[in-house]
């Protein structure tokens, strides 16, 4: 009995020490860091692709849009967000008439088994890469520090109501072998105004950004090998749909390597 009491007293004391470390955050918890890196186009600064799965009937998704804006403010061009509208929350109704879904987005949603919204995918195109909103910032911070030897340069223009784009992929250190390469390219549109459910409230003039409008490649990507100059060039045109606004369109290209890891991404606003 006495021994037991001593043992338990020790345990309670240990627990007491643990409980004292109870962290109360006073005041504003937002950190004020900036890590935007260089903005030179086509270099090997690692740019982190964040694929956001969202929907206009998803009441918590605007919180994710805010988080993306904070991350963009923090990391500048080092983060490239794209928004895939898919699943039940993207169904159209009389209140939500705009159809933002695409075959590329729907297929990627199925491939990655996305069943909760909002969700973010960072680092790889695998099921276990999907993150809840609370983990986006941490995932981006980790991913941006993973070095890459790959550079992506995008040239894009509009001719005869057609977006004509060319991506040049370069391995800047040919001595480092890159295997199982696949290229993905999508067209995104910014500043699209339409309805969105936000925390239970209908916002009729909500501004949607980074909306994936078209997949130049399939959701499984375009397999490629680098040539003798450690380069690969990919041309991809698309006619501009009547519902797209040319001035708000951009092209996003990203490349995966072994185990579907996303090793580099690039963004180009179409001039």
């Amino acid at each position: 009995m006495k021994t037991n009491t001593i043992l338990l007293t020790i345990l309670i004391a240990l627990l007491g020490i643990g409980f004292n470390a109870c962290d109360k955050i006073e005041g504003n918890p937002y950190e004020t860091i900036q890590d935007t890196g260089t903005t030179i186009d086509g270099d090997t600064v690692k740019r982190v692709l964040l694929i956001e799965f969202t929907g206009h009937r998803c009441t918590n998704c605007p919180q994710a849009h805010q988080q993306l804006q904070i991350l963009s403010e923090t990391y500048g061009e080092r983060i490239i967000p794209i928004a895939i509208h898919s699943g039940y929350y993207s169904d159209t109704t009389t209140t939500y008439p705009t159809n933002y879904t695409t075959p590329f987005g729907d297929n990627l949603t199925t491939l990655l088994n996305i069943d909760l919204y909002p969700r973010g995918v960072v680092g790889s195109l695998n099921k276990d890469a999907q993150k809840p909103l609370a983990e986006w910032a941490e995932a981006v911070a980790i991913e941006k520090d993973i070095p890459t030897t790959m550079a992506i340069n995008i040239e894009s223009s509009i001719e005869n109501n057609t977006v004509i784009s060319k991506a040049t992929i370069t391995n800047t250190k040919p001595e480092i072998a890159l295997n199982d390469l696949k290229l993905y390219a999508v067209l995104v549109e910014d500043s699209v105004v339409s309805a969105q459910l936000n925390n239970g409230q209908l916002i009729t003039d909500y501004v949607h950004n980074h909306v994936v409008r078209h997949g130049f490649t399939s959701h499984l990507g375009e397999p490629f090998v680098l040539n003798s100059e450690s380069k690969f060039i990919y041309n991809f045109p698309v006619a501009i749909h009547s519902s797209w606004r040319a001035k708000k369109l951009s092209v996003v290209v990203f490349v995966t390597s072994e185990e579907n890891k996303i090793i580099q991404a690039a963004y180009k606003h179409i001039e």
């Binding site: 338990l8 409980f19 950190e31 804006q69 993150k131 609370a134 983990e135 911070a141």
Partner: protein
């Protein structure tokens, strides 16, 4: 633990080979434990006979494509969940483990379980004053407001701890518990380290007031979670604590049970990084006298989700438990729109009155009649949004609220009357009428408010000794969702071994005539002693099942199913 995990998509025959290997490990492990016990504690003459106990369960189902219901075919054709508990007790010592196999996981339960392993194993010593467990264990403090680790295979929940648990009884009527551990996450562990302590004092026992009719019990608990902060844009609390205090008073047929909990800042995926503290209070008052009884209760909570990982969602890594205040329904149509506690905030009340009309009275009839009235209603809490810090940063506390405030939005309402009556020596009956309103718009973000009126009739006829026929008819009427439903069931039982059942659920009121479907099911089962086998075939509609206010989605399915269970 990871050493035992085999992630696999293998076909069943390959699984059997693998299972044998794992079972061999289990038997060796238990044999070693039993030998160790025998040699170490053989001096305890009166308790030296150890014994094994355990149970086994397998649930398997085939999944066929059904273009009518939209049910998908499983690539594996058949899916299976299975487990076996083995336990060896020797005097004051107990050791045990559970082998689990999900090849692959039945639809509706997270496929993160896919694989086989031994995720649960423990060693326990229990004396009169001290008990300790190392390994895996389940535990609950009070009602579970601060901590509850439990398993429910139907929901795919298992948040067992892996660590150390100590229980101590230093004085009669005083009960202390302490634990440190991590929680189970499928075949792995969550990232958070949980520390918890609970104390309970039964005043009558502690102060030798056994003769006093009023029984009073006081309790308090404290639970803290550690999880590293790796978020570059937010300062996150690494140690988050929840504390709760509780009171139980009982006198004759009257009792009050109440618990209050408080949680410090815990920004998480559940509350979208809301830093404001959480609070909850739950109280039940009950009274019974003779054949009359009543329970009234209330619950109010704000921001009380607590998990051992701040990014966990669904039913993963839940640390506390706040049961739904609404009635638990047994029949399928009353349970079609179940309610689960809204952990970010809700205010609810409930009341239940039951009265048994005495036999051989005008209203009670020859055998008496039990009448039960139940009512529950849940509202949002009253909140005022705080202004944004700038164009993209919401205020870290999101909104303001005051304790026990009630908002304008109705989340759920349910009123029912049940009548249970034995009509003759051979006929028993149960009838129920219910109205329920479920705010699917607020809870699931779609379809507005669903209001339904439901009738249930259930009659059991004893045809001859050991032979009984049960007939069930349910009807649900609603103008929303999929419209009206009717369910009819017949079940024939030959006690104690056999039963056969036919069930048809018909969505005759669906506004889309192509979806006015029959969901039929035929089942039969055989029970002998502690062994039971059941097989069935049919369609399962898509829906939500909830147990104790915790829910999961079940997709539509069509196919054969088999269930075998055994205890020993």
């Amino acid at each position: 633990m990871a050493n035992y995990i085999v992630k696999s998509n293998l076909r069943p025959f390959i699984f059997l080979t693998h299972s044998l290997k794992i079972m061999r490990k289990i038997v060796y492990s238990l044999a070693l434990v039993s030998i160790a016990f025998s040699s170490l504690f053989s001096q305890e003459e009166d308790e030296k006979k150890g014994h094994f106990s355990g149970n086994f369960q397998i649930d398997a189902q085939t999944y066929m494509e059904d273009t009518i219901t939209g049910a998908d075919k499983a690539p594996e054709i058949m899916l299976m969940n299975s487990y076996a508990n083995l336990r060896y007790t020797y005097g004051k010592l107990t050791a045990g483990l559970r082998f689990e196999s999900y090849l692959n996981t039945l639809q509706g339960i997270s496929n993160a379980y896919d694989g086989t392993g031994i995720p649960y194993k423990f060693f326990n010593y229990k004396s009169d004053e001290l008990e300790f467990t190392v390994g895996n264990f389940y535990e609950q403090f009070g009602s579970g407001m601060s901590l509850r680790a439990y398993e429910d295979k139907t929901l795919g929940i298992d948040n067992a701890f892996e660590g150390v648990l100590v229980r101590h009884n230093p004085h009669k009527g005083i009960y202390l518990k302490g634990l440190v551990g991590k929680q189970r996450l499928f075949f792995d562990l969550g990232p958070g380290i949980v520390r918890g302590a609970d104390a309970e004092i039964q005043l009558n026992e502690a102060f030798k007031l056994d003769s006093v009719e009023t029984q009073i019990t006081l309790g308090g608990s404290f639970v803290s979670r550690y999880q590293a902060d790796r978020n570059p844009i937010l300062k996150l609390p690494e140690n988050v604590a929840i504390m709760a205090t509780r009171l139980s008073v009982q006198r004759g047929g009257f009792s009050i049970v109440s618990e209050y909990g408080y949680k410090i800042n815990d920004p998480s995926a559940d509350n979208l990084n809301n830093y404001q503290p959480g609070q909850a209070i739950m109280s039940d008052i009950s009274f019974t006298k003779g054949t009359f009884g009543m329970v009234v209760g209330g619950k109010w909570l704000n921001n009380m989700s607590f998990r051992s990982s701040r990014s966990a969602q669904n039913n993963d890594l839940m640390l506390n438990y706040l049961p739904a205040i609404s009635k638990n329904h047994i029949y399928s149509l009353p349970a079609m729109y179940p309610y689960a506690t809204q952990l970010n905030g809700e205010a609810g009340i409930k009341a239940e009155i039951f009265y048994r009309l005495k036999p051989k009275t005008l209203l009670g009839g020859k055998y008496g009649t039990l009448i039960t009235l139940n009512y529950s209603r849940v509202q949002t809490i009253d909140t005022t949004n705080l202004p944004m810090l700038d164009s993209i940063r919401p205020h870290w506390n999101r909104y303001e609220t005051s304790f026990l405030s009630i908002g304008d939005e109705r989340l759920y309402e349910d009123i029912s009357i049940d009548i249970q009556k034995k009509l003759s020596k051979r006929v028993k009956s149960f009838f129920s009428l219910q109205y329920s309103a479920y705010n699917r718009q607020y809870i699931e973000g779609k379809d507005g408010m669903i209001e339904a009126f439901i009738f249930v009739g259930d009659m059991t006829f004893s045809l001859k000794p050991k032979h009984a026929l049960r007939a069930e008819l349910q009807f649900l009427s609603t103008k929303q969702d999929y419209g009206d439903w009717v369910t009819a069931a017949l079940e024939y039982t030959v006690s104690p071994h056999w039963f056969v059942a036919l069930v048809d659920q018909y969505n005759f009121g669906n506004s889309d005539s192509d979806k006015q479907l029959h969901y039929y099911m035929v089942r039969t089962g055989y029970t002998k002693g502690a062994n039971r086998i059941q097989i069935g075939y049919g369609r399962q509609r898509q829906g939500v099942i909830c147990i104790g206010g915790v829910c999961r989605m079940v997709p539509a399915s069509t196919g054969f199913n088999i269930s075998i269970s055994s205890t020993f």
